[in-house]
């Protein structure tokens, strides 16, 4: 019971975020519903780069890690590297794929 109560409280306190969440789900579906299959791979790769936004969480963790808290610093540092890899690699690889779709003169 206690868990259910605190989950409900959590929902109540975060109701705005939950709205964003629900609406984003529909936007995500709507936005790509008419994609031709030729673009599936670049689109997946582009989406892959966008979820690299998780790197912001890594920056926050890293940025607020207290001095001497080596677990936070080392893991946070690793997380920043991996998140950046996801972002940069993702966008660059997508661009390389899309470069191929240029109109031929």
């Amino acid at each position: 019971m206690e868990i259910i109560n605190s989950v409900i409280t959590f929902f109540g306190e975060n109701i705005q975020i939950i709205y964003i969440l629900i609406l984003s789900i529909f936007v995500g579906i709507e936005v790509i519903s008419k994609v031709p299959s030729a673009l599936h791979t670049p689109l997946m790769s582009g989406a892959n780069a966008i979820h690299g936004v998780v790197v912001i969480g890594a920056i926050i963790v890293m940025g607020h890690a207290e001095e001497g808290n080596w677990l936070a610093i080392i893991l946070g540092f690793l997380a920043v590297i991996l998140g950046t890899l996801n972002v940069v690699g993702g966008f660059v690889v997508t661009d390389r794929m899309l470069e191929m779709f240029k109109k031929k003169k």
Partner: protein
């Protein structure tokens, strides 16, 4: 929380850039700008976070040296690997990058759990733990997918009673989740981490063949979810919208890919494709005999044909034959032959992969025709040239209910007057099953490396 209105504005702009960027990515004319736009929004959001973000106590971000160091390393590594990778190896690269994002989400959860677990609300702890579970599953699953596509790991493993084992592991994860919430301890968290990593491995191991892209797409949306949990935790709108967008768009994309193969997602995940058992059922050999042919015979056939359709597959890309096939196409066009490419929705290893590879060698975009548009034309076609494709032209998908690919839409190559198949040997296709087309009366095999065979074909054509 202190006022951070500038940062909120930046996050809003970044979120809009992600939405518009994704929208633009789904049209061929705007796709590239869409990618740039999203990348711009991301850069803005990252810079904004570094310089403007304040935590609950109003402290700005510190540890700049570590942050910029990490970003520098990640940028250089990401830039180099993304530029160096061969276009054929792109699917596994996407998978690898996806795994990095999952790992990032998992690491954040570990640090935040240690930091918060005795003060945070239950809701926040659940958010952290779900981020950990999904991030870890995505990480280990993506790594396995990478190893498989890179062919470092060649076999498909299927435990006896795999599905039961999977369910037990899932139940273990759920109970461990409850235990970790009820009795917070780092030890419990690490157990949860190991279980989740194990689940990711087990999830991808039995899946093989043409199903790999579907799994990567699914893991991609998992990582989106993990990012969204981070956004929930930090009350960070851009992480939330970015993550959820990818989560939902990725799920839809996964379903679209399944539809292209006429299979359900459940079938892909729990199905039989990768498992050796079902594939063996269709292994009943050939009706008819295999006839092989020579480049000079093929050259004559093609030169005097009216219509030629080329069916490219992943083998074409592996043999690096996309340039020489374009040369063949141009030669034939000069002779007045109408040449087109028939693109199966899952040609290559991902939908659209073949388009990218052919576009790389300057094949004009309007020569690439999708399956639905071209399938009725095969019966009016003189020569179909199948290069490095196998399962997508296997008539068993139409007429053999015992075949694991039964029901998958295929290109009706067998309906043409003559089918020429360029193949290295009589080996099986990616799905590991026999192709009865090769035994048909109208089918001729052109054995040898695709690039070498087509090269000889081009030389013969020039001499005719």
């Amino acid at each position: 929380m202190q006022n951070q209105y500038w940062l909120y504005l930046i996050y809003l702009l970044a979120s809009v850039s992600f939405i518009v960027g994704l929208k633009m990515l789904s049209g061929p004319k705007t796709a590239r700008q869409g990618n740039f736009l999203a990348a711009g929004g991301m850069t803005l959001a990252i810079i904004g976070t570094i310089f403007l973000h304040k935590n609950e106590e109003g402290h700005l971000i510190g540890n700049y040296a570590w942050i910029f160091g990490g970003i520098a390393i990640g940028t250089i590594a990401g830039w180099l690997s993304a530029n160096k990778v061969q276009m054929t190896a792109m699917p596994q690269m996407v998978s690898l990058f996806n795994g990095m994002g999952g790992a990032c989400a998992g690491l954040i959860s570990i640090v935040e759990y240690k930091h918060l677990h005795d003060t945070a609300s239950t809701g926040a702890v659940i958010t952290i733990l779900l981020g950990l579970i999904i991030g870890s599953v995505s990480f280990s699953g993506s790594i396995i997918a990478y190893l498989k596509l890179q062919e470092i790991m060649k076999k498909t493993f299927r435990l006896p009673a795999q599905n039961i084992f999977t369910i037990v592991l899932l139940l273990l994860i759920v109970s461990m989740l409850v235990i970790t919430i009820e009795m917070p301890a780092m030890f419990h968290l690490y157990l949860l981490l190991i279980l989740s990593l194990g689940y990711g491995v087990l999830f991808v191991l039995p899946i093989g063949g043409a199903d790999m892209p579907v799994v990567i797409s699914l893991l991609n949306s998992f990582t989106g979810l993990a990012a969204a949990f981070g956004g929930f935790l930090y009350n960070n709108q851009v992480m939330l919208t970015g993550g959820i967008l990818v989560g939902s768009a990725g799920t839809l994309l996964t379903i679209l890919m399944c539809n292209a193969m006429n299979r359900s997602l459940m079938n892909v995940i729990f199905g039989s494709f990768g498992g050796g058992n079902a594939a063996a059922g269709a292994d009943d050999g050939f009706v008819g005999t295999i006839k092989s042919t020579t480049p000079s015979d093929v050259a004559i056939l093609m030169k005097y044909a009216q219509n030629v359709i080329i069916v490219p597959g992943y083998g074409l890309a592996v043999a690096q034959a996309q340039h020489v096939i374009h040369e063949l196409e141009e030669l034939l066009e000069k002779e007045g032959v109408n040449v087109r490419y028939a693109i199966h929705p899952v040609a290559g290893r991902m939908p659209g992969h073949m388009n990218v590879l052919l576009a790389e060698s300057n094949v004009s975009y309007d020569k690439l025709v999708e399956m639905e548009q071209i399938n009725d034309d095969f019966s009016k076609t003189d020569v179909v040239f199948v290069v490095g494709a196998n399962d997508v032209v296997n008539p068993a998908a139409r007429n053999n209910p015992a075949s694991p690919i039964f029901g998958m839409p295929i290109l009706n190559a067998d309906k043409a007057k003559t089918v020429i198949v360029s193949k290295r040997s009589m080996g099986k296709g990616y799905a590991g099953i026999e192709n009865e087309l090769f035994g048909y009366d109208n089918c001729l095999m052109l054995f040898g490396d695709a690039k070498a065979s087509i090269g000889k074909l081009v030389a013969e054509l020039k001499e005719l």
